[in-house]
Structure formats: structure tokens, C-alpha cells
Symmetry: C2
Subunit: 304 residues, 2 copies
């Protein structure tokens, strides 16, 4: 008998994707809807509705969420969130009570990492560093064949390593973090400097793909700084793979990864830097929802 599928939900600041996901990480059904962020109650009601909708007609075994939040894994609370109004809510218990299923939760960057690990670029690997370059820089870790979450669940904030002491202000209030140098908003700034206030990182990436020299150079600079971060992680973790995804990271692709690999060659230690592969993410928009499904499976297995 085939094991029942699960439901994964990837909660974003603008839209939410829910899917019925097989144990192998295949999407069997899906629903997308805008995220109503008018209040915490609205977020939770919207999640109830999308779960009910995608669940209709499917027999499922568990429910998993990837949310843009700091999670306390012991209590299952969403302690604080970025871009959505979720703070101090007993998210896991509430969802378990409402939907009558085992529930797993994790932050969105960990969910994307787990998705790429089960069904994407990192399939089969036991040591993976994933970086998601979007508006900010998120990250996730698979260490010795398991997702790494830190002492309480707020670990793997890979965008917040210091790579340039005293450097530009970071979204978190620190200075010179990887996010300060390699987030999509850095590409937005470069685009505005070259092409005027109406431009953005998307245009910069498009022009670079067309071979426009300023745009290629701007992305190479960002890629080199990404490479300083990647080298740091390679020296610390000796991973098999570094996977780079996120909206900006995936769009820019080799325009970032090529220069990043050059800096890795200069700053990494052997044998770690020789054996590691730096590759693009494969699942794009679907990494998070597939990962959320696999987090549901983890919750199911934890319940025995």
C-alpha cells in the first residue's frame, strides 16, 4: 500500500502556495492564493482556508508549514516574523487542533532547503548549504543527513555572517553581513544607479544576460561577495554541495555563480573547496512547498 501523501504550505508575504505532496516530493495538487496580512487572525484564517481547499478529495497523513518566521521548535511557536503579522502564536498546536493532523513547522528558508534536498539540486547529499537570494539572503543547512535548526530552532541565519566588518547596513541592523552585499536589493540599487529610479534588479539581470558590460560587472561584484560567504561556509562545513536559489539568485544564475566560484578558489581550504560543487537550485518557486511537505513527514515520523 502506498503511503498517504501530506500537505505542504509555503507562506509568503504576498502569496501562499499549498500542495498535496507525495512522500517522494512530487506535487499531486496545488492551490495559490494571496496572503491576507491585514492581521494575525486574517493570516491564520487564510491558511485554514487554503488547507481546506487543497485537502478536499485527498486523504492526507500530515500537514507542514514553511513560514517567514523565527520558530521555537520545542513549543511550536512562531516567535516573530518578517513581512507577515505572526508573533508569539502557538502555531503548531493551533493548526493541529484545527485540522486534526500531525503538524510540522519551520521557517521558509529551511523549507526551501529541505525541498531542494528531497527533490531538487541536493537530492541524495548528506551535507548541504543552501542560500536563497531574494529581497534578503536566507539559508538552510543539511548536516550529516538532517536539517540543522540550532538549539531552539532559530539557527541557520546564513545571510547574517559578517563578511565586511564595518560595511553597509544590513536589514537586521548589523553591518557588512552577507545580506548587505548579496541580496536582491543590492542589485536594485545598482540598477537605479545605471538606469534611473524606475529600474530594478530584474532589469539589471536582463541586461547582463544580454551582455551589457556595466550590468555584468555589477553582478560579478555581487557574485564575488557571495563567494566570500560561500568560502566561509565551505571552510566551516565541508559540504558536498552549495545550492544557490531565491528569486534574484535563480534569475542571475551563472552571472553570480561564476565569480563566486573564483572567490571560493582563493578563500577556500583544500580539500573542502576542491570537492564541493556550487550549483543553482532546481525547484524554483516550488522548493518551499515541497520542503513544507517533507516537514510534515518529519512531524508524522516524530509522532511514531
Amino acid at each position: 500500500m502506498k503511503a498517504l501523501p501530506v500537505i505542504g504550505v509555503d507562506v509568503g508575504g504576498t502569496k501562499t502556495l499549498a500542495a498535496v505532496v507525495s512522500r517522494e516530493g512530487e506535487i499531486e495538487a496545488k492551490v495559490v492564493q494571496p496572503t491576507d496580512i491585514s492581521s494575525q487572525e486574517a493570516v491564520l484564517a487564510g491558511l485554514d482556508a487554503i488547507v481546506d481547499e487543497v485537502r478536499a478529495g485527498h486523504d492526507v497523513a500530515a500537514l507542514g508549514f514553511g513560514i517567514p518566521s523565527r520558530i521555537d521548535q520545542k513549543t511550536g511557536r512562531a516567535v516573530a516574523s518578517v513581512n507577515i503579522p505572526l508573533a508569539g502564536v502557538d502555531f503548531r498546536d493551533r493548526m493541529r487542533d484545527r485540522h486534526g493532523l500531525p503538524v510540522g513547522i519551520d521557517n521558509d528558508a529551511n523549507a526551501a532547503t529541505i525541498g531542494e534536498w528531497h527533490a531538487g539540486a541536493a537530492k541524495g547529499a548528506r551535507y548541504v548549504v543552501m542560500l536563497t537570494l531574494g529581497t534578503g539572503v536566507g539559508g538552510g543547512l543539511i548536516l550529516d543527513g538532517k536539517p540543522y535548526r540550532g538549539a531552539t530552532g532559530s539557527g541557520a541565519e546564513l545571510g547574517h555572517i559578517v563578511i565586511g566588518m564595518g560595511g553597509p547596513l544590513c536589514g537586521c541592523g548589523g553591518h557588512g553581513h552577507l545580506e548587505s552585499y548579496a541580496a536582491g536589493r543590492v542589485a536594485d540599487e545598482a540598477a537605479r544607479a545605471f538606469y534611473g529610479d524606475a529600474s530594478d534588479g530584474r532589469e539589471l539581470v536582463a541586461k547582463a544576460h544580454d551582455g551589457e558590460a556595466d550590468a555584468v560587472a555589477a553582478l560579478a561584484e555581487i557574485g564575488g561577495r557571495l563567494g566570500a560567504g560561500i568560502a566561509s561556509f565551505v571552510n566551516v562545513f565541508e559540504p558536498e554541495l552549495v545550492v544557490v536559489g531565491g528569486g534574484f539568485g535563480s534569475a542571475a544564475g551563472e552571472l553570480l555563480l561564476g565569480p563566486a566560484r573564483e572567490v571560493l578558489a582563493a578563500e577556500g581550504l583544500s580539500p573542502a573547496k576542491d570537492a564541493v560543487r556550487v550549483v543553482p537550485a532546481q525547484l524554483g518557486f516550488y522548493a518551499g512547498v515541497i520542503g513544507a511537505g517533507m516537514i510534515a513527514v518529519e512531524a508524522l515520523e516524530a509522532e511514531g
Copy 2:
């Protein structure tokens, strides 16, 4: 019946310490001798001799080594070493054959970390980052209650994260690594600048403990840079503890840790930075040999 003790051996570039260590990490007997680094054969013969000497009259269950080397844990080879002539040698098999005991090996910084975790500053913790500030900067990780070694055993090179892109040359050939800014040799350089060519980091630390303003400021600068590295690790790992040891790190103590905590407060994320404690190592010179003993216990348990 009490479990038999083990032998731990901490191999340094100038001296080697071997001890009979209880399962609880207590030293029951010990021998120190200079390390003969005239050749690989001399190193190995010296290790055989010190093991035979400390073992005499003790019934022991296993043998563990902390060596200043890059280890391949799958094969038990010492791939390459710093300060001693060990390269491409089947270290674990050779020692098992020669001494007729289960043998575990690891690099010296991991051994010191494991020592502090079993019997020192990090006793009882499940998530620990240790930094050893000596001539260079070494490090070790305890994650989810287990030593972290990377995909093949060369992970946790914590001294080689980039904290200042384009900064000073590092011993490894990279630039702007934590080791470039926070190793004992940086204190040596400051001492020579203030007090002349005959001075060194020891004098700088002594003068700072006496309240000499230049010396205090120089160590505070190094401590602040150490803090940038610590903040990076806190954001990545969400550890319970960061332990700072090594010859230079232990001698300078709070002169480094105070300024480091200030930078952690600025660059770390909540809740990780609020919950973590940054503390001095407790075992000093003995961390490595006790850790090597615990590595012997690991090897024994792995053999079933």
C-alpha cells in the same frame, strides 16, 4: 565494574602529551615529551614510545589522538599536517596494528573542543562553538550533542571564515579571515610596534593586564574582530555556548571577550545572541588530551 580507562594523546608541533583518562574525562596518569619532528617515521616512533610509557601498569580499552592534521575520517588517514611531517599516512590503521587497541583520531582543535565539552566549560551543552586562539585560530563544533566533522573530516575550520573581504593575508593564503585578525601573531605584531622587535603578544597581554592603555586598546581591537566572527557563528548555529581558548585566547581572557561581546550585541540576531554565553575555556593545556581520550571512547563505541 568500572569501565576501563582509555589513553588520549595530544600531538603538538613542539611537545606531545599522553594521558590515561577515565570515561568521565579525569586524567589518571600522564607523560609529556618533546615531539621529534625530524621525519614522519620519527613522529610515529615517538608516539609509539609515549603510548607504551603511559600505558605501563594500566589496563586500557582504547586509544585516541588529537593531531595537527587534516583527517579523512572514512579511511583514518592523516592527509596533511601543520607544523609536523605527517602526510598521506594511514594513521588509524597503523596505530591499531601497533598497539592492539581500537583507535580514534581527530584534529587537535576538534580534540580540544571535545575535551571542553566532556569535562570543561561546555560540559552538558548540546550546541557549542569553540575557538582556539593560538599562533593561528582553530575551532570545533558540537552540534545537537555530537562533534561535527564535515563530509570527510576536514570541516570546522572556523578560523577561516572571511570577516573582512580584501583584508590582511591569512596563513592559508586567503585574505581577511578570522585568523588574519584574531590570532596570537596579530598580538605579536602589535607588541613589536609598541615595544620593539624583542616584544611579543605575551608582553602585550601582560601590559594590558597591568592597565597599559595602548595594550588594552590593541587587545580590544582584536577582541572586536573576534566578536564579528563570534556573531557570525551565533547567527549560523544558535549555540548555547561559545568557548574561547588557546594559548593567546586564554591568556588575554576578558581583555578580548568583553569587546567581543559588545560586537556580538551589535551584529548578532535575537534570540540567538541573547541566549548564548561567551565564556573562557577551563581546561587549558589539558583540553586536547582529555578530548583525545573521549575520541578513543567514541572509537570503542563505534566498534560495538
